[in-house]
Structures are given as C-alpha cells and as structure tokens.
Symmetry: D2
Subunit: 344 residues, 4 copies
C-alpha cells in the first residue's frame, strides 16, 4: 500500500482525489490537511464520502507530519508545494503538485505569472511535467511531478501529434476552450454562483490566462520551433468537463490525420482517438480519466480542427495525478482509474 | 413621473427593480445607493442594463439625499429600512421595504427571528403588508409597505381561499416549497456555486426559516383560528422560480374547490387560476409578475393539494414591490408589469 | 462469472446496467438485445463505454438465445418481461425485471394501471419484490425479482420504519417527490427537452402515477393497516437524483425517531441514516447505490418529515438490480457497487 | 395597427414572436396556423401566454385566408414560405421568412443544401436579406425579407467591420460558435433531451452546417474578395443564447479596432460595442434584441478575436423579424423591442 498525504483537501481537486483513491487497490490515505478546517471530519464536509473515510479528519498543516508518507499530493493554491517540497524530498517523500509550482521551468516566467519568486529552483529543475502520454519514463523516476493544468492537458493532447509531425504553422495556433465551473475551484465568488453562471456562457481571461505559458512551454518542446498560441477560455454552465476546439493551419495537406493520431496514441489507456467524423461530448468522459479526441479537416481545406474532451477534475487534475502516482510507484498505470464514465 | 430611490441596488432584487422600472411608463429612478460599490456605474455591474441607465451610478448611502424622492425601495438586508424609515416618512417619502423590517407585526417576534430590536415599533404598527390581492385598499393609503417574502407570497395565495372558507384543518398545513437559487441572493457562498448547487437538489432551513413566522401571521389573519404550518424549503438547481406544493386536510369535501379559487381571484390581474387538472410550471411565469395556481384533490380523498408558481424575483419581490408602488401612487396596478413571461 | 443477458439495453437503465457491470468483478455480459438498434455496436450508441464493451453489439430479440445466460435483466417497457419469463425460467435462467411486470401482486390491479392482462399470474405469485433491505432472504432464493420503481424505493425506505413501529397515521401519508429527468427514460418527448425542462420545475401525474399502487401495496405489508398515500411527483431540472420529502402525522411523539431509523438500518451497506439535523442532497449519492435519509420533527410538532435521496438510475433502478443479482447468486451484496458518489 | 399572420406558430420562433408581439404597440395578430395543432388554443400549448392571447387558436393552413393580413411571418421548416409566397405577394401581403427560403441568393446553392428546388427564383431575386444593420434601406422597401439565421447574424456582426476595412485575411476566418439548445427547435429528439444535453457540451455539424453558405454569401458582399470560413457550431447546456468567438488574421495591425467597431455601429439601437477588455455574457442579452460584442487582440499579436453574444431566439430570429417588420411598415425600428434583458 502506498501511504498518502494530501495537503489542502477541501477544494474540488482534493475531494476528487479522495473519491478516486477510495477505490484504488493500493492507496492508503494517512493524512489530509486544511488550514481552515482542521478538526472537521472529511465526511462532515463531503457527505458523498460517508462510509469511505469515516475516521479521517482534516488536520492543521503545522501539526501534521507528512514525512511518514510515501507520497504527498498538493491540492492547494499556488505557492504551497514549493514551500514544503525541500523538507519532504529530503525525507524521501515523493511529491505530486496539482498546482503550478512545478510546471513552468523558467523561474522568471513563473514569477511573472504567479507574482511569487520560486522557492526552490533546483527542485524545479528536476521536477517532471506530469503528462504521462509524453513523459512516462521520466515520471517513473521522478521525485517531484508538476501535474499539468486542466486546459493545458487537453490542448497538448490535441496539438502535439501535429507539431511533432511538423505539419502545421506553429506560429498561429488557436485553442478555443470551454470549461465547466468546477475548474474555477471551490471558492465563494459571485461570478461562479449558480444564479450567475448557469444558463449563461462567456469568455474570460482575455488579458492572459496562467495556463498560457505552461502550454506554450510544452508545445515548444514537441514542436522544436517557436509557438504562438491564441488561447480563449470560456466558462460553461455545467459542473465538469473541458472541451477544447483546436485550430491550426496545415502546412501540408497530404498527411492522413486520422492515422497520425491513431498511431501516436496507440496503446494509450487514457487517450481515445475517435472514429473519423466524431464529435466527442464531455459527458462521455464524465468522472473518468479518459480523454477523447477527434480530428477534422473542415471542407477539406487547410485548417485542421481537433476536438478534445476531458473531465477537468480527473484527466485534468486528480485522475492524472493518480496516474502519475501509479507510474512513480510501479503500480499498473490504470490502477484506481478504470470505472466507466457516468452517462447520462 | 414618480421619483424613485433605491437603497442597496446591487443584489438580485435591486437589479430586478431596475429591469422592471426601465419599462415602467411613470418611473424616474433618481438615485441608487450601495455602500460597497459607490462610484460604480450601474451598467458596469450589470451589462444587461447598458442603454437603459447609462448615466446612473451607485452612490454612498450617507452622501445620498433621498428626501427628494417620492418613494424609496429598500432592496437591502434586514435592519436597514427601519433605521432610515422615520426620517424618510417625516419628509413625506413613501417606503417599500423588500426585506423583513415591516412584515412581522409583533416586535418581539421580529427580534426573536432577526436578532435585532425593532427600531420603530410605531411605524411598524402602521405599515401595511404588501400583498395586494389581500390588502389592496390599505396599500393604496399606506406610507410604509412591508413587501412580502417570496415563499410567503406563494403560500398565502394557495392557502388563503381555503382558510377563508374554513374548510381545512388549519392546525396541520404543509408547504413543501422549492425555490431557484436567486432566492438566496447575490452573495458569495460556496453552497450556492454552480458547481455545488446545479445538478443537485436538497432541503434546507429545517430548523426554522425566517419566512415561517411571517407566513403564519398572515394565514392566521385569514383563518381566524390558530394555524400550524410545516414549511420545508428546498433549493432548486435553476435561477428563478418558486413552486409551492401545498397540502391541507379538508374538513369538508363537498365544496367545489375550483370554483372557490376562481371566485376568490376573479379579476385579479396577477393571479391565474388554471383549469382543473393543470400542473403549472415555473417557466410559465418567468420574468413576469403573474402567479399561477392549480387545485387538486388527489384520489378524491380528503387532502387538497394546491400547486402555486411564481417568479421569486418578480411576484416574490421586485414585481410585487412595483405593483405596490402603482397602488400607492394611483397608477394602473399593472403599469410596467405587462410583458409576457419568457418561455422557453 | 455470472453470464448475463440484457433485454432492451438502449435506455437509461440499460446503459446504467452496462456502466455498473463494467466494474463488477463477477459479471460477464453475453448478450444485449434491442429491437430498433440490432446490429449497432454498444459503443457506437454510448461513447462513454468505448474501451469497456468494444465487441458487444445489440442483437435482435428474436435472434438471441438467452437461455445460456444465468440471469436476464429486462430494461424494457412494461409487458416485455412477462412475455418471455416462462421460457427463461423453464430454462433455469433467473430474471430481474426493471419494469413493472413483477411488482404488483394483484393481477387485476396490474391490469388496471398498465392496461395489459398479466401474462403469467403464477410466476407473478412467486416473484419477489426486489427491495433487499426488506426482502433480502426471499431475494436470495428467488427465480424472478420485480425490481422496485425509483420513487417507491425512496418512499418505502423513509416510511417503513415509521409504519413498522406503528407510530404514524397510515391513512394520511404524503410523499412529495422530485426526480431528475432521466427518470422519464431516454425517449424523445418535447416536454423532456433541455429547452423545456431546464430552468423549470413542475409537478406531474396528478391524476395518478403508476408508482402509486406499487408503493401502497408495499407500505401496507409493513403497516399491517390500511394505507392512504398522497403522492406528488415533480420533474427536477437535472439529470439524476430523487429527493423524496415525506410527511406523516405522529400518533406518538415519545419515540426517538433518530434511534428508530438508526436501528432499523444498522449494518445496511446502502442505507445511510444521516446525523440529526441533516439535509441530504442528491449529489451526495450521484452515480452510487447508496440512499441517504434524515429524520426531522419540525417545531417539535406532531408531523415527522423524512428526507430521502437516491440516484434514480442506481438505487432506484440498475444498481438495486445488481444488488439483487448479487444476492441471487451468492455474491457479496456490494460487489460492483462500491465506487464513491461523484461530487461535485 | 399591422395585421399579422403567423404560419407555423408552435415552435420556439413562433412562440417567441407571440411573446414579443404581445407587447408591441402596433401589432394585431390575426391568425396563426399549425398543421398538427389546428383547433388548439394558443394558451393551451403555451401557458405563459395566458391572458395575452386568450381568444387565439391555431388554425389549419388550408383553411386560413392570410391575404387579409398586412404581413405574414413564416416560422416554419424550410420550403413552406416559398410555396406560399407568390399568392401572398400577389395579394399585397408582405412576407418575413424566418426559415432559409429567401436567404441564399443562388437557387442552385439553395438546392444543394436544402435538397429542394427553389419554388420561385424570381421572388428570391427580389427578396432582401433581413439584417437591418447592413441592409436597412432595402428592407424598408422590401416585399419579401429573408430573416437571417441565428449563427449568421452573430458572425456577420463580428466580421463585417473587419472585412469592410480590408484588414483581415478573408480566406482564413474561423467562427467558433456556441448555441443554447432552443436553437435546435422545439422538436422531440433524443440528443436534445435534458438528460442528454445538460451538463454536457459538444461540437456538431462538422460535415457542414446549413448556416455556412448563407454566412459566406453575406461576408463576401462586404469583403469584395473571396471568403473562406471554418465554422464550428457547438451545443451549450442552456436554453437561450449564442456566443460566437471569431478569429481572423490581421493583415494590418496599425488600425484601432475598438474605434473601427464603435464607428461602424454608432447609433445602432441593437448592437452594443462594449468597452475594451470586455467579455460579454449571453445572459446580458437574454430575451432582448440587443447583440453585444467586444474586440480583442490577444497578446497584441496578429490575430483579432471578436466575441459576439445574442439571444438566438430574439436578435437571432423573432426579434430581428419584428425589427424588420418595423422597418417595412414605417414604425419606429425599436417598437416592441425595448424591454431590458432578463438578468439573472
């Protein structure tokens, strides 16, 4: 059994980790911390977990020794993981950060977007970007994994095969992305109220979204050329699910795009390349770690459109984190992640 | 033109007042106050009102002289209206309070439920309960109107004809009520987030809801006998609309219930007694001041079931407030309240 | 492994059975029939099941030999199971009918409500009503199980402890029930369109709902006295979930209701009696076989209010059917039913 | 008063016309036809209209003489208006077709997309495309108006100023559009059920949407150069509202885009160019004829992003039709279209 600690377990990624780990054959959740809710039983905050974690309570971060854990998940705001990473790593504890502390490799770029100097640039340097489909081997050996953002996961899954193949204009990529409201976190904001956000749709973050630099960094890795990305996030009137509609200009139109994607993701347990003509819907991956995608070339023109869906809390957050844990501990990669999506 | 002031215009009842008054033929909104948003233009908070109130901005309460208004609406939390009532009334300004300060006649009962001593029991004594279908003449002459709560409006419309007729057991009334999330107000609470409250349904307020004493007070007025009411409010995963399902035990089963209700509300512009067998839906009154109701006697037994729908922000709040204003100023009762409900 | 056949697998209970059985350790789905969609692969109708049933296709009922199965689930409209039951039972195949053919014991009453004469009254007589919490032993030995309706399950779970204890007036029970739209099935009807049923709420079935006679039949079993039930179903603007708000008049008020329910359901894996004061929400059981309930006595009066939530497709249909299968085949009762509810 | 006939009034555009016309100062709805619902009172189908059209009933098309009307709206499937146009025009009746019969100028292109030969190419030639912001004068004089599609309206409002100015690459336009479910019409289809389409998001029509040729035809008019458009429609889990996110490559980056749009739409009562940095939300135009748009240049790069919102049933259908009627009959252009959007 893997002894697990969770730092900051009162948000949506925290409760989703708990949900997934409750069915994981090798998970033993030992501790879960919360500054604001120390002393509260997990099941008193999340009734859905009654019968699953009846003896687990949130503890104060300062009063919790996580060094006895094998792995610690950080389901916190940005800045928390990097403050605790050195001590944990020194104690031999592996770290999976669901926030952004270990995603952006350039500390200056990190500071520009997150308004914090990075606390441990050396650990940042060794941290692995936790998108298993592209970095599986490195994740297996990693002490620290920076779990990707929800939007970046979907954008990379859709664009990387095209960039690797060198068949699109990497300077003019467009990601028109739509996310369910849980992506904004479990925080009390007027704009996220049901009475504001339901029966409504809007773009946001037009001045620059924090997932932009992370995404570009990774796309460049695969492209080997400069990348320019127009990224438009939108807020969907629903709870879970991301749909990224990706557009790129083809520099060659003689490539079988369907075959390209099928080959790239052959054997991947969590990436489903759908048949030609498909339009994946977000519910087809609800509560599941699978991402589904479909490739289109509208009107046989020179634009390729890739449709990618994922559950932002699973493949876009907690599920991918567990997938990373499985790799880091030599478990079957799909352990705890095999239940079918919930439809309808 | 009626010169209008609105105190506390940043919540849902405030913006709904503005929406309705924008089409009112005799309304002239002169001032709108907000402690937290003074200086902000109304249209910068509510883009829906662009083109309607382009020159109106929120002003600080202390810096706003409302005595030049003919009427002031209080779309505030409880306690604000009673603090300002005396000065306004002295200046000849009429008051319509959309909060609870002037609903409950017994100051001790008010204090028990709202944890505030009443600031002006004498004005409370003269205030009129603003449910026009039952108190039209008194409202016409009132200086202060306590606008009813959203739930109480629907419950009274459904129970009063039965209580007046003396054909139900007033000691065993049940009101199973369901409200859209806008009824909880425009306040940042985790439980009201789309990600929490959509695709979900629950009861709340089981330990006692503040609309209970107000409702019982009014039902007793019509019943002339003691009333006991079990009231269960529930939160619906939608924005607007209240559906009250009312149950009472018939003490006589030889009365034509349909005819009773039809007669009671004959000529009422805002109460629609639907044909026998109807099941009114909340969308049939969306954004409208109409309440619709249907009377049933399931299995021809001794229980009468009344189904009542209203838009909680209109007939349950701002629309009824405007209806009251129309009465108080000798305007046609339906002025500004005639647009058809929005369906679908 | 239990060899399983599913008749009529294109509706919501069918796909939900498939979803649950995909994670069941002892389930082997051998055949699934559909008159209208024979030849279609399951994954081409339900993309959510890609990777789970890639080789399973719907077959024509007439061309499908189900006698090699150990059990056949009927996820069909009423009337189908009873037509095929005799042949299957003769072949030693057990039957779990998710429709109503084997719920109502009185063939005349069945015919009155379903407008069909019963095809096999003898088998009806031996069929067991599949609510394990009340009929566990009989289910273990049954050849035919009539799986309860979604509403009746929730109503019985809430009322039975009170009726068994003989502390409520069984002639005046009220069940105010609210169901998500999936309860109406996967059928193309205007009234169930998103554009009609979302942001909306209404009662329906006031003239008599087919779940009424089934519920009364069962309540009488526990009450030993005549039962009269006012049952008001409502349509919630959401996908899954039933919330039943149950009211009964207490004939004794000296009983500890919380203790009564706690004792009645002690050890039950799928009934969660919540702490005093709780208001269970439907999402706390989303996609799970658990029902949660809370008992209240508003204002310490003589009315008891029981709040019951379940997922109408799981404990209200497919999950309960699998629970029954587990019992019928000597498997652990919770097999395949242990994943945590999906929240948010 | 304008004497009005409506053909095919049982769909969403039909009931929306009725809703708007109920408050129109010069509208007199004389007849409304429906093949399937002849004899049904309008208020028995749409309870929201009780009190507005109590004496109006659907009549059979064949039994209804529309020649006494001043104008006839066709809220029908494609093919109906063109079949009746000649007789009505001959009788001096003006026609506003909300379907596609009079939108596409090239009869061959019409036939290619709608699988019907055009019934009256001469009338098609004289028909005016009813987008008042671009064709106001022609509409005033028109006998036949082809009311634009919902998507095309939003796409044109966003792209035309850029194309007129000649500052974008017209061969590479992208319209990523999202529509509420009412855009699909009031028809019973499984894919549009609440249980399917809510809490879900997907693209559709990737093989070619009928609004594509209409949109390109109109964009070319303004561009004077060939236009290629990638158009991706998506289905939003909500009732009303379209959000079009438009992308174009700038061929010049020295133009003040905000000023360009502000100048183009100066004085337009129904197009609101929002301040720089805005992200219009669909609810800000709910139930209103206003379209709002915002212009962005992400990262100051060479892509312009235009965000356009409209209510698909109002500016995208019935409201624009009434706006056209107002122009055709010399009424104030805003008559009947002045109520504020419904928010929340």
């Amino acid at each position: 059994m893997v002894k697990i600690g969770i730092v900051g377990g009162t948000g949506y990624t925290g409760v989703e980790l708990l949900r997934i780990l409750a069915s994981h054959p090798a998970a033993d959740v030992r501790a879960i911390t919360s500054r604001g809710d120390a002393g509260t039983r997990v099941i008193d905050m999340f009734a859905s977990l009654r019968g699953k974690y009846d003896r687990l309570a949130f503890t104060a971060p300062d009063a919790t020794d996580l060094t006895a854990c094998d792995v610690v998940f950080f389901a916190t705001p940005h800045g928390v993981a990097m403050a605790q990473a050195r001590a944990l790593v020194a104690a031999g504890v592996k770290i999976i950060d669901l926030a952004a502390d270990f995603r952006i490799k350039d500390p200056a770029l990190f500071e520009q977007w997150y308004k914090l100097p990075h606390a441990c640039p050396d650990l940042l340097a060794e941290a692995v970007y936790g998108l298993p489909e592209f970095h599986r081997d490195a994740i297996r050996k990693a002490r620290i994994v920076g779990n990707p953002g929800c939007y970046p996961t979907s954008i990379q899954l859709g664009f990387v095969p095209l960039l690797e193949a060198g068949i699109v204009d990497a300077r003019h990529l467009i990601a028109d992305c739509k996310s369910g409201a849980s992506g904004a976190g479990r925080k009390a904001e007027v704009g996220l109220l049901l009475a504001e956000a339901s029966d409504n749709f809007k773009a946001y973050g037009m001045a620059g979204h924090r997932h932009h630099p992370e995404t570009v960094q990774e796309l460049v890795r695969h492209s080997k050329t400069p990348v320019e990305l127009v990224f438009t996030p939108h807020l969907l009137p629903m709870i879970r699910g991301i749909h990224s509609t990706l557009y790129a200009r083809l520099t060659r139109t003689d490539v079988d795009l369907q075959a390209l994607f099928a080959a790239r993701y052959a054997g991947e347990p969590f990436v489903d390349v759908m048949p030609p003509g498909s339009t994946p819907d977000t519910r087809s991956v609800r509560a599941s770690n699978v991402a589904r995608l479909a490739v289109h070339r509208p009107g046989n023109g020179d634009t390729v459109t890739v449709l990618v869906v994922e559950d932002n809390l699973v493949k876009g957050a907690a599920g991918q984190a567990v997938q990373n844990m499985n790799l880091m501990f030599g478990l079957p990669e799909t352990a705890g992640l095999t239940t079918a999506p919930v439809l309808p």
